[in-house]
C-alpha cells in the first residue's frame, strides 16, 4: 500500500488497466478460434463456418473487467485466499455449527421419504445422492485416508454391478446373498489390481488405476457373450423386502402389511437401503480409523518413507485400503444394478470416476461429513441447473481446480484428528513466570 504513494510509480489504475489489457489480449488469443468461429456440418456434409464475435467480445470484456478489479483490489496477493474474503468470525461460527451439522444432516436424510413421499422426482434424486455418497465414502478410504489417488474407482463399481446382475440372473440368488458376493468380487478385483501396482509412486499409481478402469470398461464392452456388450444387461431382478416382493399380488409387501399397493414402496425401500449401506460404510470407516490399520493408513498418507522406517508394511497397508474401498464400491454397484434393472458399460466411464473423486476432493479428503455435503451440493446443483446441462461439467471441472487451489482441505475442513491428547498439558505458573523474566527483550 505504501508503494501507491511513491511519485515515480504510475497511478494504481493505470498499472491495473495495463495488466487487464494484457489479460484481455491473452483471452482473445485463447478464444478467437474456438469461440469466435463455429464449425457446423453443411448440407453437403463438409464443414461450414460461421463467426460468433458477440460471445467472443463478451468473454474478452469480462476477462478485462475481472482482471482490472483483481489487479486493483488484490494487487499484493498472488493467490486470492478465501480467508481474506470471509471474516474470521463467520469462519468460527461455521466451524462451531459443523458439529451439529452431521446430526442435522442425518435427520434430514432419514425423513426425506416422509417429506417427499408423493414426489417421485425428489426420491430418485435422494437415492442418487445417497449412492454417490456411498461411493464417496468408499473412495475416501483409498484417497482420503490412505492417500492413494485412484482414478479407476468406477471399475469396482462396475464389477459390483455386473457381479450382481450376472449372479442374480444366472443363479437366481436373492439380493441379500448377491450383495456380499458382489462386494467380495469387487474387493478381489481390488486385490488383483493392487498386488502388482501398489509399489508405484502416487501419480504413477493414479495413471495405472485409470488404465485399469478403462480396461474393465473395454472388456465389458467387448465380451459380448457374458456381458451383452454395448447393449448391457436388462431385466435384473429387483430387491425384495426380506423375501416379500414389491408387487401388487397376494404375497407382495403391501398385501402382507395390509397396505394399499403403491409403486412408491419400493422406491422408499431402495432409499433406506442405500442410506443404510452408506451409513454402514461411514460407521465402518470411522471405526477403522481408530484401529492400528486406520492409523497406518493416515500415517502412510502423510509420509510413506517415515512409515517404512517405522516398520509399517506399506504394501499390505495399501492393499487393505484398496480392497476395502473396492468392496464398498462393489456394494454400491450391486445397489445400482438392482435399482436400475439395467446396466451397460456406458454407466462406468471415466467421467464417473472423476465425479466421485471430485466429491471426495471437494468434501475435503478424509472428511466423512464433507463427502456427504459435497455429494448433495454437486448432484443437487446438477439438477438445479438442469437447463444448463451442457455447462455443468465445465463448472464442475473448474470447481475442482478452484477447490484444490483455494481450499485444499475441501469445503468442510473440520476433519477430527484421529489421534489427540485426551487432557491438556498443564504448565505450572512458576515455569511461565520464570520464562517471562528470563526473556524481557
Amino acid at each position: 500500500m505504501l508503494r501507491d504513494n511513491e511519485p515515480s510509480k504510475p497511478p494504481a489504475f493505470v498499472a491495473a488497466a495495463k495488466e487487464a489489457a494484457l489479460s484481455a489480449l491473452v483471452a482473445f488469443g485463447l478464444f478467437v478460434t474456438l469461440i469466435g468461429v463455429r464449425t457446423d456440418q453443411g448440407p453437403t456434409g463438409a464443414l461450414v463456418i460461421a463467426t460468433r464475435f458477440g460471445p467472443l467480445a463478451a468473454i474478452v470484456a469480462a476477462v478485462f473487467v475481472a482482471a482490472f478489479i483483481r489487479a486493483l483490489v488484490f494487487r499484493d496477493a498472488t493467490v486470492i485466499s478465501l480467508g481474506r474474503l470471509v471474516p474470521p468470525r463467520v469462519t468460527a461460527v461455521v466451524s462451531g455449527l459443523a458439529g451439529y451439522a452431521a446430526i442435522a444432516f442425518l435427520v434430514v436424510a432419514l425423513v426425506v421419504p416422509v417429506l417427499a413421499y408423493t414426489n417421485r422426482y425428489y426420491l430418485d434424486l435422494a437415492i442418487l445422492i445417497a449412492t454417490y455418497t456411498m461411493l464417496g465414502f468408499g473412495l475416501n478410504i483409498v484417497v482420503g485416508l490412505a492417500g492413494l489417488l485412484d482414478l479407476g474407482y468406477v471399475a469396482f463399481y462396475a464389477v459390483g454391478a455386473y457381479s450382481y446382475a450376472l449372479i442374480a440372473q444366472n443363479f437366481g440368488l436373492s439380493f441379500w446373498i448377491c450383495l456380499p458376493l458382489a462386494g467380495i468380487l469387487a474387493a478381489f478385483a481390488g486385490l488383483l489390481l493392487g498386488f502388482p501396482v501398489l509399489r508405484l509412486r502416487g501419480d504413477y499409481l493414479a495413471i495405472v488405476t485409470l488404465g485399469f478402469g478403462e480396461i474393465i470398461r473395454l472388456i465389458l464392452l467387448n465380451w459380448q457373450d457374458l456381458t451383452g456388450g454395448p447393449n448391457g444387461i436388462s431385466g435384473i431382478p429387483r430387491p425384495s423386502f426380506f423375501g416379500l416382493p414389491f408387487t401388487a399380488g397376494e404375497n407382495g409387501f403391501a398385501a402382507t402389511f395390509g397396505l394399499k399397493y403403491s409403486a412408491t414402496h419400493r422406491v422408499v425401500f431402495l432409499y433406506y437401503l442405500i442410506l443404510a449401506l452408506a451409513l454402514a460404510t461411514n460407521w465402518f470407516t470411522l471405526r477403522l480409523r481408530r484401529l492400528p490399520i486406520g492409523r497406518a493408513w493416515e500415517a502412510l498418507r502423510e509420509d510413506e518413507i517415515a512409515c517404512r522406517a517405522l516398520g509399517v508394511n506399506t504394501t499390505t497397508t495399501k492393499l487393505t485400503a484398496f480392497a476395502l474401498g473396492a468392496m464398498f464400491g462393489g456394494f454400491a454397484g450391486a445397489f445400482f444394478a438392482t435399482r436400475q434393472g439395467f446396466i451397460s458399460p456406458e454407466s462406468f466411464a471415466f467421467g464417473e470416476s472423476a465425479l466421485v473423486l471430485a466429491i471426495v476432493v471437494l468434501g475435503g479428503m478424509g472428511s466423512q461429513l464433507g463427502v456427504a455435503v459435497a455429494a448433495t451440493v454437486m448432484l443437487g446443483g446438477f439438477e438445479l441447473f438442469r437447463e444448463f446441462a451442457q455447462y455443468r461439467m465445465l463448472v464442475f471441472g473448474a470447481a475442482m481446480v478452484a477447490i484444490v487451489i483455494y481450499r485444499p482441505r475441501g469445503l468442510v475442513s473440520t476433519r477430527t484428528p484421529s489421534v489427540f491428547l485426551t487432557e491438556g498439558k498443564v504448565i505450572p505458573a512458576a515455569i511461565v513466570q520464570a520464562a517471562r523474566t528470563e526473556t524481557p527483550a
Binding site: V26, L34, T78, V197, I207, A306, L394
Partner: protein, 304 residues
C-alpha cells in the same frame, strides 16, 4: 511379409504422433515432477484450432495447400502454446508448494474443463476434414498386396524428425535448454543460481503445447476427423509412451512413442481391433511394474 511392412509403416506414423505428444509429458515431468493430465486435451485443442484456422483460410480464399498448411501450423502452434501457458499459470503454478497430489487433481479438473469447453463451443459431433494431401508411392508388390507409403505419412514422419532434431538442439545448446536442464536437476539450486524458474517452467509448458499442436495438426491430416474426446486416449497412450521410453528422457519419449504406435498397430492387425486400447493400457501397467524407469530413463532416488 508385405502386410507386416505395411503395418510397420502405419505404426511408425502413428508412433510419431504419440511421440510428439509424449515430449510434452516427459519435459513437464522432468522439471516439476507432475503428470500433466491435461496435456492430451491440449493436443485436442491444438487439433481443433488447426481445423478452424484451415476452414477460415479457405473461407477467405487462401486455398494453396502448402501455404495454407504453413499458416495453419504457425497459428495452431502459437495459440495452443497460449493454452499451455494459461493452464500452467492458472492451475499449476499456485500449487507448486501444495500437497503431493494437488497438481494431478488440478490437472484432471483442467482436462474436464477443456473437453467440455470444446464440446460446448464446437458441438459434440465429429468434425470431418476432406483429405488435403493426396498421393503416395507403391514401394513393392507381392502376394496381391501392395505396400503403400502415402505422402501424408512421409510428411508426418519427416516433420516429427525435424522437430525432434530442432528440439534436441534447443535443449542441448541454447540458454533456455540449459536452464531447463538445470531446473530438472534441482529447482531450488537453479533458483539460487539466478535462473528464473517460473519463466523456465512456463516456457516448458509453452513448448510442450506447441509440439502437441503439431501432433494435433498431423492427427487431423492423417485421420481426417477430430472430436472433443480424442485427447483422452491419445493422452494416455502418449503418457504410456513417455513412461515406456523413460520419463524425463527426450529420445526416450520418441522411442516410446514409436514402440506404442507399433504395438497398437500390430495388435490391431494380428489380434483384435476391439482390444487395441486394452493393449495400450496393458503395456502401461506392465511397464510400470517391471520397468518403472523405462528404457532410457534414469532410476529415481527418493529422498526425505
Amino acid at each position: 511379409m508385405e502386410y507386416f511392412v505395411q503395418q510397420l509403416i502405419n505404426g511408425i506414423t502413428l508412433g510419431s504422433i504419440y511421440g510428439l505428444i509424449a515430449i510434452g509429458y516427459t519435459m513437464v515431468y522432468g522439471i516439476i515432477g507432475m503428470i500433466n493430465f491435461a496435456h492430451g486435451d491440449i493436443f485436442m485443442v491444438g487439433a481443433f484450432i488447426a481445423l478452424i484456422t484451415f476452414l477460415v483460410l479457405v473461407a477467405i480464399g487462401i486455398t494453396a495447400v502448402p501455404l495454407a498448411l504453413l499458416i495453419v501450423l504457425i497459428v495452431a502452434m502459437a495459440l495452443t502454446a497460449l493454452y499451455g501457458w494459461t493452464v500452467e499459470r492458472i492451475a499449476y503454478r499456485p500449487l507448486r508448494h501444495s500437497f503431493r497430489l494437488a497438481p494431478l487433481i488440478s490437472a484432471i479438473g483442467i482436462s474436464i474443463v477443456l473437453q467440455n469447453y470444446v464440446q460446448v463451443a464446437q458441438g459434440a459431433r465429429v468434425k470431418p476434414l476432406p483429405p488435403l494431401i493426396h498421393g503416395g508411392y507403391t514401394l513393392f508388390e507381392g502376394n496381391d498386396f501392395a505396400v503403400r507409403l502415402s505422402n501424408i505419412q512421409v510428411i508426418v514422419v519427416v516433420t516429427t524428425l525435424f522437430l525432434m532434431v530442432g528440439f534436441s538442439f534447443l535443449v542441448a545448446r541454447t540458454r533456455l535448454g540449459r536452464n531447463m536442464r538445470a531446473c530438472e536437476q534441482d529447482l531450488k539450486m537453479a533458483a539460487l543460481l539466478g535462473i528464473d524458474v517460473d519463466r523456465t517452467i512456463s516456457l516448458t509448458f509453452v513448448i510442450g503445447a506447441a509440439l502437441a499442436a503439431v501432433a494435433g495438426l498431423m492427427f487431423l491430416l492423417y485421420y481426417g476427423v477430430v472430436d472433443f474426446f480424442i485427447g483422452f486416449l491419445a493422452g494416455v497412450k502418449a503418457f504410456t509412451a513417455a513412461v515406456l521410453g523413460g520419463i524425463g528422457s527426450l529420445p526416450g519419449a520418441m522411442l516410446g512413442g514409436i514402440l506404442i504406435g507399433l504395438i497398437e498397430t500390430m495388435w490391431s492387425a494380428y489380434f483384435s481391433i476391439e482390444y487395441k486400447d486394452v493393449a495400450a493400457f496393458g503395456v502401461l501397467i506392465v511397464v510400470l511394474i517391471f520397468l518403472p524407469t523405462g528404457i532410457l530413463g534414469r532410476p529415481e532416488v527418493e529422498k526425505v
